[in-house]
Symmetry: D2
Subunit: 319 residues, 4 copies
């Protein structure tokens, strides 16, 4: 193994830069050349690659976003697109590819592997929606961003004695709502993985108010949605004022947390190690507090399950 390429793909996540840095630095440390690919698979097709040296990744470990940029690329979903990409990889003399991204990006890496080209995936997505790994890069930073927003909203909702409904990212996976809800002291969590009952929620809000709580917080995952409608129903059924906030894109940005920088650094180094060992079609992750790797097919086949312990704990701690 001599020459590695690295790209970031899909929605960006804080810590992607730390992972890129780890791939570049540990690649060079092990005697490899490392190329960066701009704009994910798009750049692979377009031949938008450039050689990176040690200082290409200087002063980026603390930066949000991705210096390699990201983009959607429909063309890569076609056989012709992938053939072009593979050609580019050969022309540039690349021997192995590291893909940092989520679900969809891993499917791309899998296709590349199937074409006989070594590819390794690193889980970079704020959603924490990959079941094979306990944490994805970016999730911890997003949780900290969300609990900071909860604190700010709590200030104003306490002052006005209102209920706050906070909609956070997560289309299929409610982990951002669930974990930030536990950490933020929320009363109610509404996520795609669990049924919810409006009357139960209203009952809880009334009880909370009656026992003297000045405000209540409802965390709502994007995949369920309907923050504004819920706000109106609560008013109608309980008479309690509420305000809906959709946190939006601030959840994707910001300087990565210590935890995200650490696992990103470890995973980046691990990906290079795997390529040097001649492995392909693997994804790296963290399981039981250890950096692991697993076959991509296998990893993508594992079904996500709701952490019911945490879901119940929210209920216990918000009585």
């Amino acid at each position: 193994m001599k020459t590695i390429a690295v790209l970031t793909s899909g929605g960006d996540a804080p810590g992607m830069n730390a992972a890129v840095r780890a791939v570049v630095r540990s690649g060079i440390y092990n005697g490899c050349k490392v190329f960066g690919v701009n704009r994910g698979y798009r750049g692979l097709i377009d031949g938008d690659l450039f050689e990176m040296d040690l200082s290409s990744v200087g002063d980026i470990i603390h930066r949000g976003g991705t210096i390699l940029k990201s983009a959607r690329c429909l063309e890569f979903k076609t056989e012709e697109g992938r053939a072009k990409a593979l050609n580019v990889l050969k022309v540039f003399g690349i021997d192995g590819l590291v893909v940092i991204g989520g679900d969809g990006s891993f499917q791309g890496a899998q296709k590349v592997s199937e074409m006989g080209f070594p590819a390794i995936g690193i889980p970079g997505t704020i959603d924490n929606d990959l079941a094979y790994t306990d944490y994805t890069i970016g999730f911890d930073t997003t949780l900290n961003t969300v609990i900071d927003a909860i604190s700010k909203i709590r200030d104003t909702s306490s002052s006005h004695e209102r209920v706050s409904i906070i909609e956070v990212m997560g289309r299929h996976c409610g982990d951002i709502a669930l974990y930030s809800g536990l950490a933020g002291g929320a009363e109610v969590i509404i996520i795609p993985e669990a049924e919810y009952n409006e009357d139960e929620i209203c009952k809880k809000l009334i009880q909370s108010k009656n026992r003297g709580k000045k405000h209540s917080i409802i965390m709502l995952a994007e995949g369920v949605g309907g923050a504004q409608e819920l706000s109106e129903k609560i008013k109608e059924k309980t008479g309690i004022e509420s305000r809906a906030t959709i946190l939006g894109h601030i959840q994707r940005g910001g300087s990565p947390s210590a935890f995200d920088r650490i696992i990103a650094s470890q995973m980046g180094a691990k990906a290079v190690e795997l390529l040097l060992e001649g492995k392909s079609s693997r994804v790296v992750g963290i399981k039981n507090n250890e950096i692991i790797d697993m076959d991509i097919h296998e990893a993508l086949a594992i079904e996500r399950k709701l952490n019911t312990d945490i879901y119940k704990l929210v209920d216990v701690l918000s009585i």
Copy 2:
């Protein structure tokens, strides 16, 4: 002057607690008793007052929101409501009232003054929409919250090379959008005080893209609104992807900035001083870097003007 009451009214603002603390502490320092009124004018009508001592305001200078809570109160807009309130003030032996809030709250203070009861206003509102003072308490904190959000959004919009449209608070007054736009390096500011031309904006976005900018930021005041629609029009007219974010209630919360705590402390002390001097129907403010006071009628009559220097400077600095 022996007994003072203080209330917070209208939308809460970071720094209100610092102002309450200053009223209580400087009141007691000068030999007064100080009562806190819960929930603004509502509490005045309901007799929801309590005596505050030095430690009532301990460890609150750094807290967002208002420990005295706030609420809307339609009843106070009626003569009967105000008569009840005045009665409560007399029953509790209050000699003077300090009202911390915005425009509407000051009108209440003015009515109280007209009924012969000494009242002083302190400008607490994130909107900076009171023309008689250079700054209102809360404005600086909100600016810092907004530029932090801009930084986070910039991370992700740079990574995806998109335009960001960020809608911030300000119904009649675009100061939050304007000042945070200058501080955040925005390309375009859309506020109620100034005309804007969609084609000019699109032209600027295209030019920016062509000269290599990876992203552009458009600040939009709530009073203009239509973030989502604008996003679609930009896509249509320029082909450039954009994302709209409505920052919402996080703008109201958070630990107050140094500047807001300082002016809140100064204004709170000034309000007590005015009451001790037998003044009434005054508002305090900061003008030319000095704490001032002015007649309420006069203050409310001054017309706000757009800071055109800053508005133009945004254009110069975002070429």
Copy 3:
């Protein structure tokens, strides 16, 4: 089991309040009475206990420090002191004790257990120096505080092209220096668990400078110390300017991170669960991403080991 007491002891750590809240709320949820003890073992001896209800722990999950306060207590190290404490526990009708703290606090809990009184320990210490658990409450927050400080110091040391030496807490355990060093992109880590060689460090600093790095960061654990002396030696041996910063007590404070709030919530609930099951002399922890419990004696006997993978990774990534 009917009545539980909870105390915080030793150096405070962010997340202790989240743990107290979890003990109180899950205790009450399970039908118990819960008492808070002020100032750790001191309050136990003095009978400084008070019954806590649901709202005693309202709005504290996001606060640093501990609402129960903490203090050193030499008297508790004597048999007489402990006899007094046990007497107080009986007089108040307490059936079980939860101790939140570090090494020394656990030894106290062990003594209480040995006297036949059920006691459970929760690891609350920023140092992460308890080998039986992967993380202690407070460690993650401190890491985030330290990397934020590193970012600020990096700004100024880059501008002046200086080396920064940053001394962080950790007398016997270098984990704060090690993990924040990895996350902060440090060049050198100096900790009690590993030898270091001044000439090697100087060599690395010279090489870094020669390959164009504008600044280098050295993380130094308190247990090694000597930041100022090191700074002078570097100047002498390399001619490169450096500045020493001792971060001090800011490392103990601040709103707890999402991670710390989550594990604190889980551990608090677990401690109550153990008492309800009639267990004693146990400590709770997190191992392999799962909440566990273990005998106190056993837990305290496990020897800490340096995470050599991370120690080496710092070297690889800072070439």
Copy 4:
């Protein structure tokens, strides 16, 4: 006027980048060429200049430190050194120089002006020690950094019921200690501009403790120093435990506050305007909430005075 050079000199300050950006962008907007000088006067002597375009200053408005770097330069204090610098300016075809820095940097600008070369100063220093301007760039950010540190230290000192002594920057000027002390709710301010009496301080600490305060904060300016000694004396005279923290270089870094970015932007534009008008030997500043300019000699001759209103207010509000 066609070609402008800009440099940053002396201790760096957050907001310097915003000022550099404003000089470059408003220079180019007005048809000028703009050169950046690396490492302050050092770079001027060495001819370390480079032409800057619009994107040279892209994405820097929110960054701490200075992209132009800074350095001390003894050689510029000699006539020979300055002659070399002037020669470089001529060789590069520069018509005017903007110097961003403090006291010492302005003296350099004055010398340059005296040699017949147009030079304008912008006040960039965290110390706020320039009497002709109400605020210097960086001061507001530093205040916010310090009050954040105070909040963190307050968490732990409340938990342990200790006094905190916090030493902040400011050799001759106590403004950082004074303003952050007011904003942070400090009990005592010790600054070079005012006498202090140890017994008075001890008396206040005892009184505070007796009336139930869980902690007290003493702000100490670097120019007075002796944090550790003071801590020991307090223990000796009052029996109260205290801890000293020297905040150090974190005070210089961090993303600039909204206020600092705004005044930096305004001042940068003003400096260019002055050069275009053919002015020289001027400094820009902010006075009475307006951007002003003044002769350098005159500006440097104005004597700083302590803001006694604020100094007294701290006393009133911390009873």
